[in-house]
């Protein structure tokens, strides 16, 4: 199903921002909030994994119902999971379209990767402390 994805800050994202290698940060940054009716149509429940695809890449996230979101709009806090899907084009302004990303979402049996593995996918070498 097609959606519009938007991003922003959350208190939890801010709280864990200085420990991005932890499961708490991963859980928050890979949480995709969506309207409960949209979840019904996708046949997913809270905490189920979904594959989100956009801008030629895809990333696994976990769903959370959020009745405050209108249907068709999904929210992910800013961070490395949302940015897998962000286009680097800036329309000559320096600023990518972080707030309006067209994505498609489908249920999956995969699990969200840790941040270090996401960085490995784009050429990095994980550092484990």
């Amino acid at each position: 199903m097609d959606f519009l994805m938007t991003t922003g800050r959350t208190i939890r994202q801010g709280s864990y921002v200085e420990r991005k290698n932890t499961p708490s940060y991963r859980d928050e940054a890979s949480c995709i909030r969506m309207n409960p009716v949209d979840m019904l149509e996708l046949l997913v429940e809270e905490g189920d994994a979904v594959r989100v695809t956009g801008n030629g890449s895809s990333v696994v996230m976990r769903t959370k119902p959020d009745p405050m979101l209108p249907r068709g709009l999904v929210f992910v806090c800013l961070g490395p999971y949302a940015n897998v899907l962000a286009s680097p084009w800036t329309h000559g302004t320096g600023m990518p379209d972080f707030k309006t990303m067209p994505v498609s979402i489908e249920p999956t049996t995969d699990a969200p990767l840790p941040v270090s593995a996401l960085m490995k996918e784009c050429g990095g070498v994980p550092y484990e402390d």
């Binding site: 680097p88 302004t93 707030k99 309006t100």
Partner: protein, 428 residues
């Protein structure tokens, strides 16, 4: 030991009323701060020593080796990018700009992916702003547009707006009207007197409609503008027009969505129209605690607030060309020094991928997403905890952060100063 009047180095509110109890080099408790402040002060996840990567594995190294290799990487590069700067103090930012000039590098700060478009708009039409003290003491109408302060700046409402009693606003909660404009309901919109829900990408049109009403051309406004009814637009315009002092705060909901800096320009021009009737101000909700400082420092040294390219031997600024995301997308830079920020987490993946493919060095106290993309990371003291320095609050007020205790970590000035000296020596 109980330390009073501690400054919080987290968000642009730069709260300066925290009380922190410390024992040795451990923070025991934080009073007055929000959750983010408590996490920041009590967080205990520092990188213990410098690290470097050769091929596919990481090893521990010394400050001497890490600093020397960083200088060599920067000297070897043809088009180095020095990025970040918002999470450190202005004295360190100053060294960064001088280093960029010496190297003929591009230096950019995190405004490039937050309020860069706001600055572009301000360069076009000016900035009718004011300090937060004015807002607290005078404003009876507050507008949050594309911002969610409860999550991003948790004490903004309690220190300056909705819940803060002021000299001329005796009972804030009763006397101040709060309008929230957003594409979705948030915790902040829940406590607003008026919530204006705009369809995504529709802010420019809504701002234009409000300008028309304020200008007396309301009869031309259609029944609905980007999901907002004509009736609500008139109601909002009337609340603004009947304000004694109105303050608009806008967030990334405006700078990052369609229209970018033109949205901000329209919002500033709405403020200007309102000023023909009453007093109105507009201010960006700056994110990082010292992102404003990075704009100040860059401007007072180079004339430009971010995205400054020294490759021509003079300072050159052209957002869209000299901005980090564009430089990385074009795979143009051949080395990157990241200071006090995390582009690995906050840039589009294609940009993170380029950082991994070039020698990237990070100066930061913590392991973050960029760590995995880097070749070297040099841990430093945390400003406001074990280092002190000046920062600028979101309204441009400079505040000196405090050092609560000292540790063995050098601060950003010490590390950057040594890199600068090595580069200077090599350049002659």
């Amino acid at each position: 030991m109980r330390i009073e009047d501690v400054v919080c180095p987290f968000c642009g509110c730069l709260c300066d009323d925290l009380v922190v109890s410390v024992e040795g080099t451990k923070v025991l408790s934080v009073e007055n701060g929000c959750t983010l402040a408590t996490e920041k002060f009590t967080g205990d996840h520092r990188l213990a020593h410098p690290i470097r990567r050769t091929g596919g594995s990481w090893e521990k190294t010394t400050y001497d080796v890490a600093i020397r290799e960083t200088a060599e990487i920067l000297l070897d590069a043809e088009r180095p990018l020095l990025y970040g700067w918002s999470g450190t103090f202005v004295e360190a930012q100053t060294i960064g700009v001088h280093l960029a000039e010496l190297l003929g590098a591009v230096i950019d700060n995190t405004s490039t992916v937050c309020h860069g478009p706001s600055i572009m708009a301000i360069q076009e039409v000016g900035h009718p702003g004011c300090t937060l003290g004015q807002v607290k003491n005078r404003a009876d109408v507050i507008v949050y547009w594309g911002a969610n302060p409860i999550e991003a700046h948790p004490r903004h409402m309690s220190r300056y707006t909705t819940f803060a009693d002021g000299f001329f606003v005796k009972s804030a909660f009763r006397d101040r009207k709060v309008i929230v404009v957003d594409i979705r309901e948030t915790d902040s919109s829940e406590i607003a007197d008026e919530f204006v829900k705009v369809t995504p990408g529709g802010d420019y049109a809504v701002l234009s409609a409000l300008r028309m009403i304020v200008r007396g051309k309301g009869e031309l406004v259609p029944e609905k503008v980007s999901g907002v009814t004509r009736e609500q637009l008139f109601r909002v315009a009337n609340i603004c027009l009947s304000a004694r002092f109105g303050a608009i705060f806008f967030g990334l909901g405006l700078t990052m969505s369609r229209g970018k800096y033109k949205n901000i320009r329209n919002a500033i021009e709405l403020t200007e129209e309102l000023n023909r009737h009453t007093k109105f101000t507009i201010s960006p909700m700056r994110g990082h605690w010292n992102v404003y400082g990075s704009n100040e420092v860059f401007t007072w040294i180079t004339g430009y607030p971010y995205a400054v390219d020294f490759s021509r031997g003079i300072a050159f600024y052209n957002p869209g060309e000299t901005t980090s995301v564009d430089i990385l997308r074009r795979k143009e830079c051949d080395a990157c020094l990241v200071v006090a920020s995390d582009p690995g987490a906050h840039f589009p993946r294609a940009c993170a991928g380029h950082l991994a493919s070039i020698p990237t060095v990070q100066i930061d106290p913590h392991v973050n997403a960029t760590t995995h993309l880097s070749r070297i990371q040099i841990p430093v003291a945390v400003t406001g905890i074990d280092a002190e320095g000046t920062a600028y609050r979101m309204d441009g007020v400079p505040i000196r952060t405090r050092q609560l205790f000292s540790t063995d970590y050098p601060d950003d000035v010490a590390v950057l100063g040594r890199i600068y000296s090595l580069v200077k020596e090599a350049k002659g």
